[in-house]
């Protein structure tokens, strides 16, 4: 491999933050493709434009997605990246790895591809960046044998994703790791064989801190919560007080519902549980003293996505509380999303995310048809207009002459 001239990119090897350019150069030592990628990128930096073409259809036998086709726009100049496809490998829950597994990933990728990867893609996949068309099937075969499977692409369930949850976090209200694993396995067909109007994502966050950004980045956002009261350890409160932690100003004053009161005399906290909206602020501030309640589960919100086409949507509450029970194989959740996807599949237009479909057709229609009870928790506030649809067959229309005649 020849020494590259990449003066612009070289600038990005300076500075404290780890450099992707350095990484590309490391890969370039072993891979002609990675080396040509450096050339193209240097050119992009000079020209201020990309050099990649639309993906063609490439894939793996038995799968409808998981590979993103990618071609450079000047294949003659850059023959080694004429084909430079991405393979999405479904990551383990919580991005946990043992080094054996990680090394396997590396070794196989060294054998077949550019040696460049994203750990991880922003949906969650292990992103293997750059291989030729003829390698795709062998890559899959090798990874499959090593215990891996493809992630999603196209109009399917996308690779699911979860926060570290019970693996390391005291706030977790359900087992995000197991939920993600179990539920992903349940919906293998939906993940691997695009069949819907558009993509659909699920993200699992163990609590309202939402460390996966589920509410804004997943069509189905599963966010842990509880139904009873936060639990307060008054001794621990006193310890915070002893350390001069500003309980009143930093905790109580910022409680959005002002349901948490600090008694300076007794150095005790008390909560009006029914007014607490479980925002997690006090728990974040005083994790040693305050814990979520005991009756735990999750809120299911639906519709999140980013800006294209109809604007960004946040997911909104659809089921305020559901038990996320591994014992029960997450049956309640699976049943619910089954109904939700079915409704969307029947009603959604091409390239319309479920949030957009619900907005277009009406939350009421969605809830009725997906058989989800309407509850006030689903809305910030009720409608401001009186344009209610009435089920005509439930009315006594006997007095209504349909021919316009006088009554």
């Amino acid at each position: 491999m020849t020494e590259k001239k990449t003066p612009l990119l070289d600038e990005l090897e300076k500075g404290k933050w780890p450099s992707f350019v350095t990484e590309m150069k490391r890969a370039a030592v072993k891979s002609e493709a990675a080396s040509e990628l450096l050339d193209v990128l240097e050119r992009s930096y000079a020209e201020r434009r990309g050099h990649w073409k639309h993906g063609g259809i490439v894939g793996v036998r038995g799968y409808g997605g998981g590979v993103i086709g990618r071609y450079v726009d000047e294949p003659k100049t850059y023959p080694h990246i004429a084909e430079f496809h991405t393979i999405r490998i479904n990551q383990p829950s919580g991005f946990f790895y043992n080094t054996k597994t990680l090394r396997t990933i590396c070794d196989l990728w060294e054998k077949h591809g550019s040696g460049l990867t994203n750990m991880h893609g922003s949906t969650g996949d292990i992103v293997l960046l750059g291989c030729t068309t003829e390698h795709i099937q062998p890559i899959f075969d090798d990874y499959s044998e090593a215990g891996f499977d493809l992630g999603g692409s196209g109009s399917c369930l996308r690779t699911t994703n979860c926060c570290v949850g019970p693996g390391r976090c005291e706030h977790a209200c359900y087992d995000t790791l197991e939920a993600c694993y179990n539920i992903t396995n349940e919906f293998m067909d939906e993940l691997h064989r695009p069949m819907w109007p558009y993509k659909s994502k699920i993200k699992f966050s163990g609590c309202a801190n939402d460390c996966t950004g589920a509410i804004a980045r997943a069509d189905i956002s599963v966010i842990g919560t509880w139904r009873d009261s936060i639990r307060i350890d008054q001794d621990a409160v006193k310890e915070y007080a002893a350390e001069k932690f500003p309980i009143q100003s930093q905790v109580c004053d910022k409680c959005p519902t002002k349901c948490l009161t600090y008694n300076k005399e007794t150095q005790e906290l008390s909560v009006v549980a029914e007014d607490c909206t479980r925002c997690l602020h006090c728990i974040n501030m005083m994790p040693k003293a305050i814990q979520p309640g005991e009756d735990k589960g999750a809120t299911i919100l639906i519709g999140g996505k980013s800006t294209i086409v109809q604007s960004a949507f946040m997911s909104s509450v659809v089921v305020p509380f559901i038990k996320m029970d591994p014992e029960n194989d997450f049956a309640e959740f699976k049943d619910l999303v089954g109904r939700v996807w079915e409704w969307w599949d029947e009603n959604g237009k091409t390239r319309e995310r479920i949030g957009e479909t619900i907005f277009r057709l009406g939350m009421g229609k969605f809830l009725r048809e997906a058989e989800i009870p309407a509850v006030p928790q689903q809305v910030f506030r009720p409608r401001a207009n009186p344009y209610v649809f009435w089920a005509q067959d439930e009315l006594d229309r006997s007095g209504t002459a349909l021919d316009g005649s006088k009554l």
Binding site: C279, F313, V317, P320, G364, P376, P382, N385, V388, G404
Partner: protein, 352 residues
């Protein structure tokens, strides 16, 4: 003498009593010495205004009676309020008590100031409009009779402003009232094809439907209504008399709450639907008066001093309002119209 075009309204300056001319733009402060009585202190004088209820739909003799009183106690000046009450303008403090005595003797209702329920802004109803789903004056009378104790006192947590509109055109101010009473239809329009053929521009009619429920029926030279898409707004009827929408068995009243227009403390807000339907039960609409009273009593019992209904509900949360009030929640209360999205709860912070 020939009529003058475009001469405009009478000049208000001719309508102002001396105390106002003297203090015009120079008022310093006001007090409310007793319910219905405003005392405005100006740089050079004091004005007492005595607020008296009006049914708004009045006879000329009612107005003449007012004139008589104004001549006796107010040097011949009075005004009406933006809420259709009458205000007697007393420049001479000595005449205040005699005026109040006369008003009491003649059964005028004095009140509507401060933390009270004032008159209900309302509309025509069955008296004079062609699209009503309920009456206006009758419902107002029934509701105000029932709530009278809050008109002539000032014991509420805050002002309570009500509006009534007899159809979805909402000529009252129901979309922005503490409590809005709205006449609603619940069945699609009935097409009178003959009438339609005679006088209706079909493209305009089709365009008038906000949900696209009306489509042309060229064969029949008329239109077809897709009943599943219709939400009974009656806009088509406004465009064409051939689209009759009134329906005695199914018309009635919806209740919206929590609107306000002042900028005091919190931003102006729309009222929100909490009861999608109550039957028309003239002459006294008991279901409506009871429902409104229940909401008001709940507000009184739970609000903090100074909190208007909407401010109270926003503080406790609408989900809590529904559990406290016991009002049933249903998908009918969830917005599915153009600006629905901003009502969806895009967060997990709610009360069970």
């Amino acid at each position: 003498m020939a009529a003058k075009l475009d001469q405009g309204p009478p000049n208000y300056k001719e309508m102002l009593p001396q105390v106002i001319l003297d203090n015009y733009g120079k008022w310093k402060y006001h007090e409310i010495p007793s319910p219905g009585v405003l005392k405005h202190v100006g740089e050079s004088g004091v004005l007492y205004s005595v607020r008296v209820a009006s049914p708004r739909l009045v006879s000329i003799d009612f107005v003449r009676d007012l004139c008589k009183i104004a001549d006796d106690y107010c040097d011949g000046f009075l005004r009406f309020t933006t809420r259709n009450n009458v205000e007697f303008l007393v420049g001479d403090e000595a005449k205040l008590q005699p005026l109040l005595d006369t008003l009491a003797a003649q059964n005028y209702c004095v009140g509507g100031t401060g933390q009270s329920i004032s008159n209900i802004i309302h509309t025509q109803g069955w008296v004079h409009c062609h699209t009503p789903a309920t009456d206006a004056s009758g419902v107002v009378k029934a509701v105000m009779d029932d709530l009278y104790e809050y008109f002539d006192s000032m014991k509420l947590p805050a002002k309570l402003k009500m509006g009534l509109a007899c159809c979805l055109n909402m000529c009252g101010s129901t979309h922005c009232s503490d409590i809005g009473i709205v006449g609603v239809h619940r069945t699609p329009p009935r097409i009178d094809h003959d009438k339609l053929r005679k006088g209706t521009e079909i493209p305009t009619l089709v365009a008038s439907c906000p949900t696209g429920a009306i489509r042309p029926d060229p064969k029949n030279k008329s239109v077809i209504v897709n009943e599943a898409k219709c939400m009974y707004c009656g806009n088509c009827y406004t465009m064409s008399p051939a689209m009759e929408i009134f329906d005695p068995k199914n018309d009635g009243i919806a209740i919206l709450i929590g609107g306000k227009v002042s900028n005091a403390r919190s931003a102006p807000t729309f009222s929100r639907m909490v009861i999608p339907f109550l039957p028309n039960n003239p002459p006294r609409w008991p279901e409506v008066t009871e429902a409104i009273r229940a909401i008001i009593e709940l507000w009184i019992a739970n609000a903090r001093k100074g909190e208007r209904i909407g401010e109270w509900v926003e503080r406790i949360g609408w989900e809590r309002f529904f559990s406290l009030s016991g009002l049933p929640f249903s998908d009918m209360l969830i917005d599915d119209y153009i600006f629905a999205r901003e009502t969806f709860r895009t967060g997990t912070a709610f009360k069970f």
